[in-house]
Each structure stands twice: as C-alpha cells, then as structure tokens.
Amino acid sequence: MSSAVIAGYARSPFHLAGKGALARTRPDDLAAAVVKALVQRTGLAAEAIEDLVVGCAFPEGEQGLNVARLIGLIAGLPRSVGGVTINRFCGSSMSAIHYAVGQIAAGAGEVFVAAGVESMSRVPMMGFNPLPNPALAKVSQAYIGMGDTAENLASQYGLSREAQEAFAVASQDKAAAAIAEGRLKDEIVGIETKAGVVDTDGCPRPGTTAQALAALKPAFSASGTVTAGTSSPLTDGASAVIVTSEDYARAQGLPMLARIKAMAISGCAPEIMGIGPVESSRKALARAGISVADLDVIELNEAFASQALACIADLGLDPAKINLDGGAIALGHPLGATGARIVGKAASLLQRTGGKYALATQCIGGGQGIATVLEAI
C-alpha cells in the first residue's frame, strides 16, 4: 500500500457563531478562501488534484447541494478536480482525510484536498427542518442533546465542576500563550469580509479564571456541572489539509508534515458519545503497532471538558502532551472543520516538537469516535 502524507495545513480564523466576525460570511466562501490559500502556499499544481473532499455536519442551506463541488469552483480549482461532501457530524473532516488516504491506498488518485467547514451562524445545529424518527426516539437516545451527554459522562466518571473548570482554564491559557507567541499565525488564512480582513481567532478568552467560570450557571441541567465555560462554543470556521501519496510528495518536493500511520472508527452509546475517542484511539494505536506511551503529541478534541477528562482517564493520556496550543474550548469547534484542524495541527506539532508519533481523535454526536495516528517523516 502506498503511504499517504499530510503535505500542508491551513485554516480560517475561528469566530463565535452569531456575533463573531465571520457570522456574515457564507460557509462556501469561507472554505474556498482556505482551500485556495492552502494550494497556493504549498505550491501544489492544482490540476494534479484528484478530488476535493469536504466534511460538513449540517450540509444544507448554504452548506447544501454538494458544497464540496461549489467550494472547488469558488476557489478557482480546475474544473477537472472533483468534489465530494462527507458527513460524520464532528468527525466529518477527519473522515474526509481518511477517505483521501483510502483512495490513495486503493490507487484511485495521488493528490487530494481534505477540508471541513461549518457556519453555525448560518446553518443551525439540527438543521432547518429537524424531523427525528419517532420510533427510534422512543427506544434510543439517538437524538440526545450534546450537553446532556457531557453531563452523563461527568456524573458517570465523578468529574467535579472544579476539575472541568481547571481543564477549561488550562485550554484558555495554552491558546492565549500560543496566540501571544505568534504560534497560530502560520496556519491561519486571513478572510476578507465586508468589515475588513479577519486574520485572528475570535473565540479565545485570555485571562479566564477558575473564579469567573465558577460563577456561570449550568447550561444543560439545573443540577448539572457543565457550563458554557466548560463547553466548546458554537463556532464559524473552515480548515483544510493536503493529502498526497508519499511518492508524489517526494517527487514534487512538497513539504511533508507527517505520514498517516493508522486510522479507526468506533461506535458507542449515543448518551455517552463523548467517550468515543477511547475505543477509536485504542483501535488506531493497535493498528499502528504502538501504545499510548509512544505518543509525543496528542490532539484530543474538547467538545466538553468532562468528555475530554473522561477520555484522558480511560486512555491514560499524559496531559502535558495534549492540545499544546489550546483546544476547542478556547479555540472553538466549527463541527465539520474540527477534524482537519486537529490532524493538521498534530502534524505541524510533530514537526515543531521533533516528536515521532501523534494522535488526533474526537468524539462524534450520535455515539462514535474517530482517531488518526501520525508518524514523523
């Protein structure tokens, strides 16, 4: 099997949905700007791209109609480049990467752009016409609210509100430090809006204290422990990585951030969907033939602090290796865009830290986990 590499990573700034600086930007325009800039930055010959694979959790409205094709056209990719939209909720753009890797392995192409997008300002979570199946709703928790799953894990794992808040403060601190030291600059593509170019993140709240978080009301259950401060915010954003065969990257002299070593999907009960990364990470690590101890860099998506803490406990992860530049609680979580961000981020961090193995993993609404193991080249 021909191995696949990450040959470039970029993202838009992430901004709060509704009131943020990208609320008035169409998601297809947003993703196209990122894809276009990434292709240019990498020096990739656009006509070599086989397919543009775009993850999106609510592919309707401005994100509908096979938005991947439309993004390719807006980005000015050659007409010969395909476009496919993939939905696995929060795992959508990590699945887009997996799809590209699989195509390369199957010999169905050598060069892919795997992207992700979500405008949570413009397409609401649950979509415009939520029509759940009444029979399924009766017998399962398939449609459970995400916050309720976070509460379930908090009580199941005995995670105190204080522990969740300490985790959130750490995420904010790491993001603030990364921004202050300019460590996020290279990955961000400035987005032109009517109000000017937006080129910095809008979600982080530097200086967040445990004291301030302790004053917030529970967001999902009157007697609960999960608050807005320990949840990732509703976010607008897009991200993209270039996935090529290793042979192609070497032949063209493309920058190789990391090799994709292993991938996995797993399922779990919808009511504790946040624990999804545990099983998918175990599977991926086993497929890579390594253990948790071998990991140097971990990108564990922070849908909620409680969910991340439960995964850390079950997998025995070293907190010092997790989310070095901050996680989704601080940076934001545009559902369809997060997967490509954390894989791209993990690959860049391997280079920056000189580590050997990285894990990128996330939980998925409805009860799934997805994981990717990367290896330094």
Binding site: F128, N129, P130, L131, P132, P134, Y143, F220, S221, A222
Partner: protein, 772 residues
C-alpha cells in the same frame, strides 16, 4: 408615512434627552444624539453611555432593535456643525441659563435657517432663553416640554414666544403628534407651564395635609387613589415612582420664578422627614426605598414609613372607603372624620389653584385638564373634578372657608365646565360661553361617537357602532374587554348587517387595553360544574365566529392598543389587516394558564410564518417559530416587536398617536373596500409525528435545564400536536378545519386536566401564572 421632519438632533444625553432621542427613533426618524466631551480618548463616551443605558432601560425605551440603530452618537465639540443635516434641534442640557445661552450662540453659526430649535426646559422662561439671540433664531425657537419617560408619557407642552414662526411651531407640533404620538398642549410662557405647576402644588398639598391631619401614607393614598382618579399609585406611591429627590428641584425652580403671592409659595415648606430621607438615600423606588419599601431582610415584606416617627413599619391594609365615596366625589369630601377632611384638604386648594391659572398659564380649561391627565396620569382633569363636586358647591365651600374663589369658577356661576349639547362636548370659555371641544384634524374617538348615537347592535359583552364614512366598529364592553359567548354572538349578528349597510368593519376599543383575552372566570365556573359541553360550545362558537369574520364579504381591520392577549390576539389574527397603536402588547398567552389557543390562533400564526420569506423552506421552520412563541406565552413589548413575532404581517401598519388609531383604521378599511375579495382558505403541509418528536425533544431539554415544569411539558405537547398536524404525514394536506378540530380536541383535554384548572384558578386569584 414620510414626515416633514426627516432628521432630528438632540443635544444633551441625560435621561430626558436620551429618552426623547429614542422616541424619535421609534418613529423611524434618524436622530443625532450629542453631549459634551468628558474623556479626550473617547470623545463620544457620554452620548455612547446614554445610548447603552437606553438599550437596557426598563420599561424599554426603544420599540425595536431597528429603532436603536437609528440613533447616532456624537459630541458637541466635533459634531455640532452636523445640526445642518437636521430639521429639528432639541436642546435637553442641564437647566442653566448660561450654558443654554452659550450653546444657542454656537448653534446660530451652524444651523440652517428654518431649522426648528426647541428647548426641553421645564423651568426657564422662553423670554430669557432667546434673550440676546438673532431675530432669525428667535423666529425658529420654541419650548417643547416632554415628560418622563418620553416614550410612554403622552403629554407634550409646547410654548411659543411672541417672535416664534407659527408655521414652524405647527410643523413641529404636527410631527410631535403624528410621528412621536404626543398630545400637544399649548401653554403660555409661565413658570412650570401647566402640568408641573399644578402637579407640584398637588403633591406638596397632599403631603402637607397628610402630615397636618395625621394620616398614614396608606390612608392618604386610599383617598387620592381610586376616588380621585390616581388609581395605581395615589400620591405617595407616585412620588416614590418619580423620585423623592426631584421635589426640592421642582420647588427651587418654581419658587425662583413664580410671582409674589402665588399660592404655591405659602405651602412650599420643607418637611424634615423628607429632607432626611433624601439625605439618607431613601429617594423612592430607584433608591433604598421611599414612603413605601420592600424589606428583603424581612422576607420581602411590604413596609410604609410612619410620617411622624420616620420609622418603617409593616404596610397596613388600606382603609375602607364607603362605597358611595369611592365613586362620588361629593360623598368623599363629605365624609366625616379625617378621610373626608383630607379629601377636601387636597382637592379644595389644588383645584382652586388649577382654576386660578386661567388665563395666566392657559386660556383653555381643556388644555389644563388634558395636561394633568396625560402628564400626571390623572383619570380626570381639575375642571372635570370640579364638575364632579359641582361648581356651585365648590365655590360655596371655598367662600365658607374664607378662601378666594377663582375667577373662572365665578364665571361658571353654578354651570358645569363641560356639557354635551347637540351631540357635541362643549367646554366653558373665557367669554362665559360654551364652545365645542374640537379634536385635532383626523382624530375620531368612539367616545365622541357615543355622545350622539346609539349602538347598532348590543349584547352583554360587545357593541356595534356606526363610526362614519360607511365604516362600522365593534367594541368589547366586558371587564378588561374580556371575550365570551356574548362577544361571539355579536360578531355573528354584525356580519350580515355590515355586509348590507357598510363598506367594512373596524374592531376597536377605546379603553387602555384591546382585550385581556377570554373570560377565565366563566371558564372556571363551567369547570366547577363540569359543564364540558358548554366549554366545547364556547370554543367552537368562537372558532366559527372568527372564521366568519375572516371570510366576511367586507374588509375587517383590527385596531389594538395596549394589551391584546389570548383570545384578544386571536380576534386580531382573523382580521384582513391590523392597524396597531405603537404601544400594543400582543401575545398568545394561553399556555401560561395551561391551555392552547382555541379560537383558530394556531392556524393563523402558521399561515403568517410560512409566508415569511426570511424563513427557510420545509415543513418545520414555521411550526418551530409558532411553537416557540406560543409555548412560552411571549407577549410583544411594542407593535414593532409584534411584527417581529409574526402577530402582525409586514403589510400591517402602526399608528403612533393613540387618538389617531380609529381614524387610521377606518382609512385602512376604506382603502381595501373597493374590489375586496375575502382570502382563500389556506392549506398546510405539516411535519406530523416527526416534527412533534423534534419539539418534544426540545421541551425535554428545557425541562432538564429547569426552564420548563412538568405541566409545561403536557401543555406544549398538546400545542405541538396541533401545530405539527397530529397524525398527518408530511405529504398530506392539512386544512384549516383540520387544525380547528385539533385545537378543540386538545383544548378540551387540557381543560379537564386538574393541573390546568389549578393554573386558571391561581391566575384568577393572584393575577400571576402558576408554575406547576
């Protein structure tokens, strides 16, 4: 409607200036709000801060978010030249003549000639304001005195000087009337104009007399409250509301300018208790407390101050005023004991003082009455009150006490100040003759219609009137204009009559509210005797009557003002068009009492929302919108907000001036009458059980967050069944009749639910919703 004044500048962003700017914006007119530079780094900070406070004001200063965007802030150092963009400049800076003079001097250099400049001063004579100014400035200058809060207080006192341009004064007055919704009262250039002059005297006299006669604040307010027509607050409650610390200011300014020998000077004493209250921060509701306070340390106990000792004590039950004295002012002042003595001690001097202001402050008794009714929320003006006492009896009692009798009372010579002659209301003039009380051009009042006419139809709870020009009007006549079978009966009878003899119909009520909704008292009575058949009849009877209204062969215009709740809202939803007063508080509030809209409101709301182009397509968005609004019993805080909530269609219109509502509604009927066709019945595609599952899931989430109660879940489940079409599948067609049947089914099921019955009982007993 385009206004002759296209942009306004307000200078001075204090409470009054900012509030005036907000009301200009509420009228849809852009406004520039300027204040001084206090912070060189943020030069607009003062006006900007005022704008931010306006956004949070309670009650709301803005009628909509769109209005808030029409206010632009600036400062007088950088932006004063921009008054050249404006057709009216309102000065509302601090009450200091030197500062006003300095500002006017600068304005002379930058304003366009012909741009009106007015001061919101409440104390400084116009003569002094224009002293030293150019001829042109004096020609364009007037006083426009607003009352606080400017959005809600309808009075505007306008004072023109001898040099003022009459046409410009008329232009400003007309804008204030039609665009800002104010009733303009012309006052002469005398201290305190009309309302504050009489009002300040009244408050001082009422406090003096309570202390002199040894009344408690509760006793005083019981006498001044309902019997004299200041029902909500009485006098001490009113002072608490406006701020006790305002009193010394008003007193200082009046005593500085009132003529020697003015009766107010004799009563303007300082009470040590009140001086101490202000010094200690007991300035009323905005401070630590006032004459009344809520003691939170004692478990939210309502307390009142002892006027003798200055100590708070638990509030006492108001004294019982004998029935006759509640309604008859003569009986009230004739009561033996301190309550009767107090009533006369307040009314005698106050009404006498008000009467003595003719012709000093105004030649027109109507102007004085209107000023007190709209500026101080008196139910009756001073001359109307004297009529209640009898002009002869009033004069006699003054004489008997050795007090002077005001000239206008002598002139009345035992005749009333007001009479009805030839179907017209007339008032006594300075010439001793009666003159018609003229309404401004374009004002039609149902009360005036009633002076000459008899209703065309009448039931126990509604009446039909001929309001002229081929238009008929239905009014509700029950308590709080509540709706019942008698209203529906009248609607049923009115339709053939209007179809035969009129061009169209207005549904309009002149009281402070359109309708508080269905008569819950009747409902609970029927429940108690398990008369379920009767309740079902009431529901289906209402449905039929309102649909008959909707499909009648003539246009129907609903004209709400104040509250239009529950069934009152459903009446409006069945009209072809709504002409709403800006202060319309509209909502389907049935869920609050454990019910669902039962008179066709659900289908009408669905029909409004699904034709809203801003909503995404598909079966759910309209359903979800209506569900959200109705399940939470959301009530609009203005007509503009009612449009945002979908109670009004984008084509419906808003009238700013309450007195113009009926005339505007009539005009709307006449505009639609030619070639009128009733609407086609709508058909719906609804999401069925799938959609209901989505709504149920949402409600479960609210429940988990502690925002919904167990019975909320039951009630919203019933609502969801109606709105989603019940068993209908998304490919089915649901008719209006299907929705009405679902409404009836769910309504009757809920009415039999003890938890709903508990809600209704609780609402009737306490006026507040039960959260069970």
């Amino acid at each position: 409607m385009p206004h002759s004044i296209k942009k306004v500048c307000v200078i001075g962003a204090g409470t009054m200036g900012a509030g005036i700017a907000a009301q200009v914006a509420n009228a849809g007119v852009p406004v520039l709000l300027l204040d001084i530079v206090r912070d060189p780094a943020n030069r607009n900070a003062v006006a900007q801060g005022a704008l931010e406070r306006l956004g949070k004001a309670e009650p709301a200063a803005f009628m909509s978010k769109r209005a808030a965007k029409l206010v632009e802030v600036g400062n007088i150092e950088d932006d004063l030249a921009r008054v050249a963009e404006c057709d009216w400049v309102i000065e509302a800076i601090v009450e200091r003549l030197d500062l006003k003079h300095a500002l006017y001097e600068k304005l002379e250099g930058v304003r366009r000639p012909g741009t009106a400049v007015s001061s919101n001063t409440s104390t400084i004579p116009l003569e002094q304001l224009v002293a030293g100014r150019s001829e042109g400035f004096a020609r364009d200058f007037l006083i426009t005195h607003f009352f606080n809060p400017p959005r809600y207080m309808r009075l505007l006192e306008v004072v023109a000087g001898p040099a003022s341009d009459a046409a410009l004064v008329a232009k400003v007055s007309n804008f204030a009337d039609r665009a800002l919704g104010k009733t303009v009262v012309r006052a002469k250039d005398t201290p305190g104009f009309i309302a504050n002059r009489v009002g300040t005297f009244w408050i001082q006299q009422a406090i003096n007399a309570a202390i002199d006669l040894g009344l408690t604040v509760e006793e005083a307010d019981a006498v001044v409250g309902k019997p004299m027509g200041v029902p909500k607050t009485g006098v001490f409650g009113l002072v608490d509301l406006v701020g006790i610390d305002l009193m010394p200011h008003l007193k200082a300014s009046l005593t500085a300018t009132l003529p020697e020998g003015d009766a107010y000077r004799a009563i303007a004493v300082d009470h040590p208790l009140i001086t101490k209250m202000i010094a200690d921060g007991y300035t009323g509701r905005k401070g630590k407390g006032g004459f009344y306070r809520v003691n939170r340390e004692a478990g939210k106990r309502k307390e009142a101050i002892d006027l003798a000792s200055g100590e708070y004590r638990p509030a006492a039950k108001p004294p019982t005023i004998p029935g006759a004295a509640l309604k008859d002012l003569r009986a009230l002042v004739g009561l033996s004991g301190k309550l009767g003595a107090y009533a006369w001690a307040v009314l005698g001097p106050t009404l006498s003082y008000a009467a003595s202001l003719v012709p000093q402050a105004s030649d027109d008794i109507v102007a004085i009455d209107v000023a007190m009714k709209l500026g101080y929320n008196w139910k009756f003006g001073p001359f109307e009150l004297i009529d209640k006492l009898g002009t002869a009896e009033f004069a006699q009692r003054l004489k008997a006490e050795g007090k002077p009798v005001p000239a206008i009372v002598e002139l009345a010579a035992g005749r009333p100040f007001y009479r009805v002659e030839g179907g017209k209301r007339q008032a006594l003039g300075l010439d001793g003759e009666y003159h018609d009380v003229a309404q401004p051009d374009g004002v039609v009042l149902l009360d005036d219609v009633k002076l000459t006419a008899k209703p065309l139809l009448k039931t126990a709870s509604a009446a039909l009137w001929d309001v002229g020009d081929g238009v008929a009007a239905i009014e509700f006549t029950g308590k709080m204009n509540a709706l019942d079978g008698e209203v529906m009966k009248l609607i049923g009878q009115a339709i053939p009559l209007v179809a035969e003899k009129f061009k169209g119909l207005v549904i309009y009520n002149e009281g402070s509210n359109f309708s508080a909704g269905a008569n819950l008292g009747l409902a609970i009575f029927a429940m108690n005797i398990a008369a379920w058949g009767e309740i079902e009849k009431l529901v289906s009877g209402g449905q039929q009557a309102l649909k008959a209204l909707k499909y009648a062969p003539f246009p129907v215009v609903g004209a709400p003002s104040g509250m239009a709740l529950g069934g009152g809202c459903e009446v409006l939803l069945h009209c072809d068009a709504i002409q709403a007063h800006a202060e319309s508080y509209i909502g389907l509030v049935e869920c609050g009492v454990g019910l669902v809209p039962g008179w066709g409101g659900n289908g009408e709301m669905l029909d409004r929302w699904r034709s809203n182009p801003a909503l995404p397509k598909g079966p759910m968005p309209a359903v979800a919108k209506v569900f959200e609004t109705v399940s939470t019993a959301t009530v609009s805080k203005s007509a503009a907000e009612a449009m945002e909530l979908g109670f009004l269609r984008p084509t419906d219109r808003v009238t700013m001036n309450r007195d113009r509502l009926l005339a505007d509604a009539k005009a709307r009927v006449l505009a639609m009458a030619d070639g009128y066709h009733p609407p086609e019945p709508p058909v719906f595609h609804l999401p069925g059980a799938n959609g209901k599952t989505a709504l149920d899931l949402a409600v479960q989430g609210f429940r988990a967050r502690g925002l919904a109660t167990p019975h909320d879940e039951t009630v919203s489940g019933a609502l969801a069944r109606i709105l989603t079409g019940g068993e209908a599948d998304v490919v089915d067609t649901v008719t209006e009749q299907d929705l009405l049947a679902a409404e009836r089914r769910e309504f009757i099921k809920l009415v039999r639910n003890p938890a709903t019955q508990a809600r209704i009982e609780h609402m009737l007993l306490t006026g507040k919703p039960l959260r069970n």
